[in-house]
């Protein structure tokens, strides 16, 4: 009896920030529990990761599925009729980048004690059936829209993580998005916008097909 009192006194002293330690004390004193995973309080979760988990899952899935969209756009430019190796390379590069971003987002979530859920897919992604076989300028436009939507998703996550949504404040998530995603993404958007500008002026006139040929040649470099 005395031992139990002392034990509870100890527990009271370690207080609320010592949940893992308390868990360890409880587990080690109980010789009956030999199964794994009994230390339920010793996880990697802190901050607001649990509240951001769902949005991060949707973000990771969007990155992976958009990488497949870009892969198909690259495929279209690789066929013998389009035969634009430069555009193929451009879209394949965008596909590879989003694929890496998707993997990195999954890795990041697990660093923070969150889990990936491959079924948590943004509804607009499931519903849309857009053609990915587009003419050059249209394809650049579509790519820019896709990249900007992903940027918006990241900004929305960042806004929530910055404390603008109740119980979502998690500066570490915000920082991760800034450092590992947003800077690279900014450059991708700028590059595509520049291509849209150049291409629209090249297509404005009688030399449109020559302009396209040279622009594709430039993209191959």
């Amino acid at each position: 009896m005395k031992a139990i009192v002392i034990f509870f006194a100890l527990v009271a002293v370690v207080s609320c920030s010592d949940e893992c330690y308390r868990d360890v004390v409880a587990t080690c004193s109980n010789t009956l529990s030999k199964q794994q995973g009994v230390l339920t309080q010793c996880d990697a979760k802190y901050g607001a990761i649990e509240n951001l988990e769902g949005d991060l899952q949707r973000f990771a899935n969007s990155l992976l599925y958009r990488s497949f969209d870009f892969l198909l756009m690259a495929t279209h430019y690789g066929n013998y009729i389009k035969n634009r190796a430069g555009f193929e390379k451009l879209f394949r590069g965008l596909s590879d980048d989003l694929w890496d971003d998707g993997i990195n987002t999954i890795k990041y979530m697990t660093k923070r004690g969150a889990r990936m859920n491959f079924n948590n897919i943004a509804s607009e992604l499931e519903q849309e059936k857009p053609s990915l076989e587009l003419f050059e300028l249209q394809a650049i436009g579509r790519a820019l829209d896709i990249e900007k939507k992903l940027a918006k998703d990241a900004f929305d996550l960042h806004k929530a993580a910055s404390g603008h949504k109740n119980d979502h404040h998690d500066p570490e998530v915000a920082h991760h998005l800034e450092e590992k995603f947003m800077e690279k993404h900014r450059d991708a958007i700028r590059t595509l916008a520049g291509h849209a500008k150049d291409l629209s002026s090249l297509l404005d006139g009688p030399d449109a097909s020559l302009g396209l040929y040279l622009f594709d040649d430039y993209l191959q470099k």
Partner: protein, 206 residues
């Protein structure tokens, strides 16, 4: 409303008035495009099979990355496998492009239902076991592909069959042997030293 539509159409026309965004389809002979349709359909479908395998490996990698699983060696092994499966899909796409295929209906080739069926594993060994089963099923599908592409009565596709046999099947058999060997080592390690065995094996993988 009508006025709005007219204005909208007009402004659209103004912006693109001089832009020649669309070009005519060139007239290229098609005699050189000789793949049989059943074979093409099979290869296109197999692109999805490779991507499904890729996402299945991704789920394994995500599982072993979890803080309450903590097997970084297994996680890296499966992330690498996920990348390789995606590369296989891309290789098949490149092959079809080389043969003059994929000039239409490309947009629907990859559907957005790639969520893996299994996302939890009791141990590293069960995941390796599942990976080996997955690879054997892919191998069977490649063999099915070969059968369709060589037994088309109007066109035996020697070249694709050679590519699938030499390139894809070689990688399948080597990969399967590697997985079987890893699983064998792990099971022997864990026979008497379960927790320690998996811990050590994981560190070796990383």
């Amino acid at each position: 409303m009508k006025a709005f539509v007219v204005i909208f159409t007009l402004s659209f026309a103004c912006v693109f008035a001089n832009l020649q965004c669309e070009h005519k389809k060139p007239n290229i002979p098609t005699d050189w495009i000789d793949m049989g349709n059943p074979c093409v359909v099979k290869v296109r479908n197999h692109v999805m099979e490779e991507l499904k395998a890729s996402m299945q490996y991704m789920a394994m990698a995500a599982h072993f990355s979890r803080d309450d699983v903590n097997r970084p060696g297994f996680a890296e092994l499966f992330f690498k496998a996920a990348r390789e499966e995606r590369d296989h899909a891309i290789k098949l796409i490149h092959y079809l492009l080389m043969r003059g295929e994929l000039t239409s209906d490309v947009s629907n080739m990859i559907t957005k239902n790639l969520a893996p069926n299994v996302t939890n594993w009791a141990s590293g060994a069960t995941a390796l076991r599942d990976a080996l089963v997955l690879e054997s099923s892919v191998t069977k599908k490649i063999r099915g592909l070969i059968i369709v592409c060589e037994s088309d009565p109007s066109f035996n596709d020697y070249h694709l069959v050679d590519y699938l046999t030499g390139d894809f099947l070689t990688e399948q058999y080597e990969g399967q042997r590697d997985l079987a060997g890893k699983l064998s080592n792990l099971e022997k390690l864990m026979d008497k030293h379960g927790a320690l065995g998996e811990f050590l094996f994981d560190k070796k993988l990383a």
